[in-house]
């Protein structure tokens, strides 16, 4: 099993179930096949309840899948303490809550140095740099220059953008091969967004790291992602390259999401009614069918798939490179002869 040519990280049939307080089983992830190649930017897009954060956490090993497995370089994850520590050296994550992710009693220096100390990188650095030099280098790479000026600052003295950069620097310092970023810019001001996204892009372009971004913002995916996976209620409903999915979407959910991105011209907005259902009550058949606009306007009935939408569950989308959607209507339309 060659580890250099295959995907870096894979999810195979991963499902994660929680037991809610009422005793019901909530399936945050309900069968996901995903493949993360080396040195690519993948965007996992979805709303709350889609399972995107759970997927990211499961890929990182913070959650253990109830079914299926996560493979790193072709081998299933070993959840022992030592193996996890070695794994974290190579796959890192920037968590969602930037403000809360920094220990308020630690200085910026200590927050960034934490990873270096945990993995004893001051002893194993190829360039022979000291811990302080590595911290300065990480902060510089994250765009905070001159880095020494921030060494003794506390989190509450930093702006939102600076906090986010410090967190990215902390992950960078370990020189991982893959960085997961959960909603990296959603709590930041609009004008700072671009800088942080440019930083993430530089991780791929200059440092060769792979990036997986979890977000609800389609525009973010358009800005920096090579590939995109759209999630709904615990499953991937569409995947492909960013251009394919965002300019020629196949799944009605993706189409609806695109149509409501605030613009002045372009697509007629399709505002879905209601909200994403509770993960403990996933609809039968196609999980999107109760809210599907293609059913509401009769398209599925005319195509003869309406009953399938209501009763037949769809298979898990395989993690191939093609542009595919988990949709009965799309399957019929894409296999129908032209004309």
């Amino acid at each position: 099993m060659s580890s250099e040519t295959g995907p870096l990280l894979e999810a195979r049939g991963v499902a994660v179930e929680f037991v809610t307080r009422g005793g019901h089983a909530a399936r945050a992830l309900d069968g996901v096949d995903l493949s993360v190649p080396r040195g690519e930017v993948l965007a996992i897009v979805g709303e709350s309840g889609s399972g995107k954060t759970t997927l990211a956490r499961t890929l990182l090993g913070l959650e253990k899948p109830t079914r299926g497995e996560v493979l790193f370089e072709g081998r299933p994850l070993d959840y022992s303490v030592r193996a996890m520590r070695a794994y974290r050296r190579r796959v890192q994550m920037v968590l969602q809550d930037a403000a809360g992710s920094l220990n308020p009693r630690q200085t910026v220096y200590e927050s960034v140095a934490e990873g270096i100390r945990l993995h004893r990188l001051d002893r194993t650095d190829e360039q022979g740099r000291s811990e302080a030099e590595q911290v300065a280098a990480a902060l510089s790479e994250a765009g905070l220059r001159p880095p020494e000026r921030l060494f003794l600052r506390y989190p509450h003295e930093l702006s939102g953008g600076q906090k986010q950069r410090v967190l990215i620097a902390g992950a960078l310092a370990l020189r991982p091969e893959l960085v997961l970023a959960d909603e990296p810019v959603s709590s930041l001001d609009a004008s700072i967004r671009g800088e942080i996204l440019a930083l993430l892009l530089r991780l791929r372009q200059e440092l060769g790291m792979g990036v997986v971004v979890v977000t609800h913002d389609l525009g973010l995916a358009w800005n920096i992602a090579d590939r995109i996976a759209v999630m709904y209620l615990g499953r991937v409903v569409e995947c492909g390259t960013t251009e394919e999915v965002l300019t020629a979407p196949k799944h009605p959910y993706t189409k609806a999401l695109l149509s409501v991105v605030p613009e002045i011209e372009d697509l007629e907005p399709v505002v879905l009614t209601g909200e994403v259902p509770d993960p403990s009550r996933i609809p039968f058949g196609c999980r999107f069918h109760p809210r599907c606009p293609a059913r509401a306007d009769g398209t599925t009935e005319r195509a003869g798939v309406d009953e399938a939408c209501r009763l037949e569950p769809l298979e898990v989308l395989p993690a191939t490179g093609e542009h595919r959607a988990a949709c009965h209507l799309d399957r019929v339309l894409s296999t129908a002869p032209p004309g």
């Binding site: 709303e47 709350s48 702006s159 939102g160 953008g161 600076q162 959603s186 001001d189 609009a190 004008s191 700072i192 967004r193 671009g194 800088e195 942080i196 996204l197 440019a198 892009l201 609800h216 913002d217 389609l218 525009g219 358009w222 800005n223 920096i224 960013t242 251009e243 965002l246 300019t247 609806a256 999401l257 695109l258 409501v260 991105v261 605030p262 613009e263 002045i264 372009d266 907005p269 505002v271 879905l272 909200e275 994403v276």
Partner: protein, 328 residues
């Protein structure tokens, strides 16, 4: 400057409003001379990011600014200056004349009270002569108006989703039939689809109830979608104003251009692998730079920009505070 006819009395008129906080380290000018008007049935957007003073400005509308904040200029709500009128008149105005949907609505609800009771509270305060059944009926009406079923009145906040809580906040704002509603960041922290639903709801309410709506947001594209006119705020001042289309599609001030470009147009090949943003952070009101407060972050800044704060002048028919606006 605006397209509003002078005969109709504006619901909201801010004239030269400045707000200065007196802190231990000295005066902090949060708002520096803002003019704004809003007519009945109009939707006006105020675009700005954290630290620009927009929340402070909103708090002056119902005299809710913190004690110790000095307010200059006139804040006219339904023709009355809220900063100087008597306490009784202010109470009457609060909620029945104008109401506010605050930022972070998700945390503004009392977790141990049912929704129905929280919505009923302003009603019973302003109309104490109503009987309980009448109040209950009004609460049910309001819930339906915002797209929730009346049975939701018996729920507790933790049983509602983010979007539903925001709807409850809007219902509360409508409780006393105000003529003016101010919504501070009503869609931040909401999912895209829920955001679209809330914006649709606000649009419908303005049309059906003929209220005036002032929306504050840092997302210029949201404002461009819903508002008739948009004003852009930076470091306590208005730096550009115009119709939503003008401001979003042909921004004259470099800051507006940055805000407008922050969220890319999906499908635009130029935006692929090219996230657009501003370097640096918004200025600290305690130590504003010399001259134009945006100059340190501006890609078009020249030496002249640091001499004096650019005044709001008319360029291409609308006010802009940039000495290089309109240059080709």
């Amino acid at each position: 400057m605006s397209a509003v006819s002078e005969e109709v009395e504006p619901l909201l008129a801010l004239r030269g409003v400045s707000v200065t906080y007196h802190t231990a380290e000295g005066p902090l000018p949060a708002v520096r001379g803002v003019d704004l008007t809003l007519a009945p049935g109009e939707v006006v957007g105020l675009a700005g990011e954290s630290g620009c003073g927009k929340s402070t400005l909103v708090s002056t509308v119902l005299r809710l600014q913190p004690t110790g904040a000095e307010v200059d200029g006139e804040v006219l709500v339904l023709g009355q200056d809220v900063q100087t009128i008597s306490w009784g008149k202010l109470r009457a105005l609060r909620w029945a004349g104008a109401s506010i949907v605050f930022q972070g609505a998700l945390h503004s609800l009392n977790p141990v009270q049912r929704i129905g009771r929280q919505i009923a509270e302003p009603i019973t305060l302003h109309e104490p002569e109503l009987r309980p059944e009448q109040v209950q009926r009004r609460v049910d009406e309001l819930l339906e108006q915002v797209g929730l079923s009346a049975s939701r009145a018996r729920s507790y906040p933790h049983q509602l989703s983010g979007g539903q809580k925001q709807r409850v906040m809007i219902a509360m704002a409508l409780a006393c039939r105000p003529q003016l509603i101010v919504a501070d960041e009503p869609t931040t922290a909401l999912d895209v689809m829920v955001q679209a639903q809330i914006l649709d709801l606000l649009r419908d309410l303005v049309r059906d109830l003929d209220v005036g709506l002032l929306i504050i947001s840092h997302d210029l594209s949201v404002l461009a979608d819903v508002c008739d006119r948009v004003l852009v705020m930076y470091a306590g001042r208005i730096v550009e104003a115009g119709t939503a289309g003008e401001v979003f599609v042909e921004p004259l001030h470099p800051y507006t251009a940055a805000l407008s470009g922050a969220f890319p147009r999906i499908g635009d090949p130029a935006a692929r692998y090219a996230p657009a943003g501003l370097a640096g952070d918004p200025p600290d009101p305690r130590s504003l730079p010399e001259g134009c407060s945006f100059a340190p972050r501006c890609s078009r800044a020249v030496d002249r920009c640091t001499h004096a704060e650019p005044p709001l002048v008319e360029v291409h028919g609308r006010p802009v505070a940039c000495i290089r606006a309109g240059e080709s």
